[in-house]
Symmetry: C2
Subunit: 254 residues, 2 copies
DNA sequence: GAATACTATTCGATATTGTCGAATGGCGTT
DNA sequence: AACGCCATTCGACAATATCGAATAGTATTC
């Protein structure tokens, strides 16, 4: 591990959280000397990874990140293969669809199809959610035993009054996910919003992503027909990326 | 400048270009020892900035970039303020709209409104274009004299047979941009696609972004009415971010 | 405008870290 | 199994990153 790179990543992470920070604030947050942080920030700035806020002394994340993330999305094979299927799923169900992957202890939305009704909807690609409070995340937890262990040993933060924060209750729920090949979430992340999700596995059998149907809670639970459509979509996408055995089995990756 | 951070950014840049690279390839590309590159890559990997390609020894860009870029987009004040206006512009003109900023010698699309006709369209946020071959980029060049000098001292790469690659011709065109407060592009970036763009300036008078209407070349040139709508939109957005004098003046930033 | 307080930036000595060559391990092909 | 190529580990030490002190810049108050 190269310390200077770790520290640079720490600056990016701090700016991800607080959005705008001055050098002294960053130094305090990272426990480093201001002149050290200044060197790090200037190096990141030279590459467009951070920029100085117009008209102030504070720094924020920079445009190079957007360009790089565009390449990340282009390069992501599961996403590329899933897109046509998620679009069709959105059309057939009339719901918005999310494709998510694990990022540390969270789930990151890497593709989003809006609900086809033409309503104004937030763009969600790049959004991260706590894994325990989203159907996407519960799928990833259910099939990656190390990930589940790690998340369940920390505190499960309540996002709403309905979020499951009791570890034994969540473990039991994850067992049910594997039985049904479907994870559910009702009002746990955002009040009024519920979802169901299914796993996407690759050639090695590992669950590498999940696909989720999001709906207003007034339309929850979805019919068996919708659930089966979701399973079929997940299976189809899995097959496209070499995952021939669906549903997958929970495993330890390393 | 911290060398290790520069080198890490070099790795990200190499992966942005070639998408998938092994350690030896990266080492060759960067002119460093394989063991040095290995250390850099492992440090980036620990933060999710790069990942190992499933089932191979090659590396590619990682999910953290997407999360960070989402924060970048959220933090970008011009973009936040522009969004409602570009949406209205798309609705009124029936065309797709791009909002762009300078990233080194290119223009980076930071917001995109699809054409309202419901047709299938590529998601363009995060896309970068050569500045000389796009209306967005020409606006940025016209108002930032240092940027123009820098781009015009390098070779202007032809993207199509219509791309203006003669420096004196482009300089003359940039003068016309300032006169009209509108830049144009016909088939210069992509055959069959043309565009007009206008500048967005901030409180200091600097042009910090441009807004562009994109249309099929069969619909080019747009009417005066559309051009005035574009100017008005650029002016409105400028005013929202403190740019009270529109149209702006060309300037040197430093 | 001057004084003050706070933050950013520069500078240079030096402790620490990153680098790279050599060795070892891993993987794919024949 | 042998071979070739690439990835990874290891350790010596040169180079670099770090941090404290000094300086410069900025905003606020009187």
């Amino acid at each position: 591990m190269i310390q200077a790179i770790d520290r640079a990543a720490g600056v990016l992470h701090a700016l991800q959280g607080a959005r705008h920070l001055g050098i002294t604030e960053l130094a305090s947050e990272l426990g480093l000397a201001p002149s050290t942080v200044h060197g790090i920030v200037k190096s990141l700035q030279a590459h467009g990874l951070v920029v100085k806020e117009p008209g102030s002394q504070r720094y924020m994340l920079g445009p190079t990140l957007l360009k790089l993330s565009n390449v990340y999305l282009d390069t992501h094979e599961v996403r590329a293969r899933a897109m046509q299927w998620t679009r069709e799923l959105a059309r057939r169900t009339g719901c918005s669809i999310r494709l998510g992957v694990q990022l540390f202890d969270e789930v990151l939305v890497i593709h989003h199809n809006r609900r086809p009704d033409g309503s104004q909807q937030m763009y969600e690609t790049g959004l991260s959610l706590p894994s325990h409070a989203s159907a996407l995340g519960k799928v990833l937890l259910a099939y990656d035993l190390d990930f589940a262990d790690k998340v369940l040993e920390g505190a499960l933060r309540p996002l709403t009054g309905d979020t499951v924060t009791e570890p034994t209750a969540l473990r039991k729920e994850l067992e049910g996910v594997v039985s049904a090949s479907i994870a559910t979430e009702r009002d746990e992340a955002v009040l009024g919003e519920s979802a169901v999700a299914a796993p996407i596995c690759d050639r090695s059998g590992a669950v590498v992503a999940a696909v989720e149907i999001v709906m207003p809670t007034t339309e929850y639970p979805p019919s068996d027909e919708v659930l089966n459509d979701l399973r079929q979509t997940a299976r189809t996408i899995s097959r496209e990326v070499g995952g021939s055995d669906w549903p997958p089995r929970p495993m330890r990756i390393d």
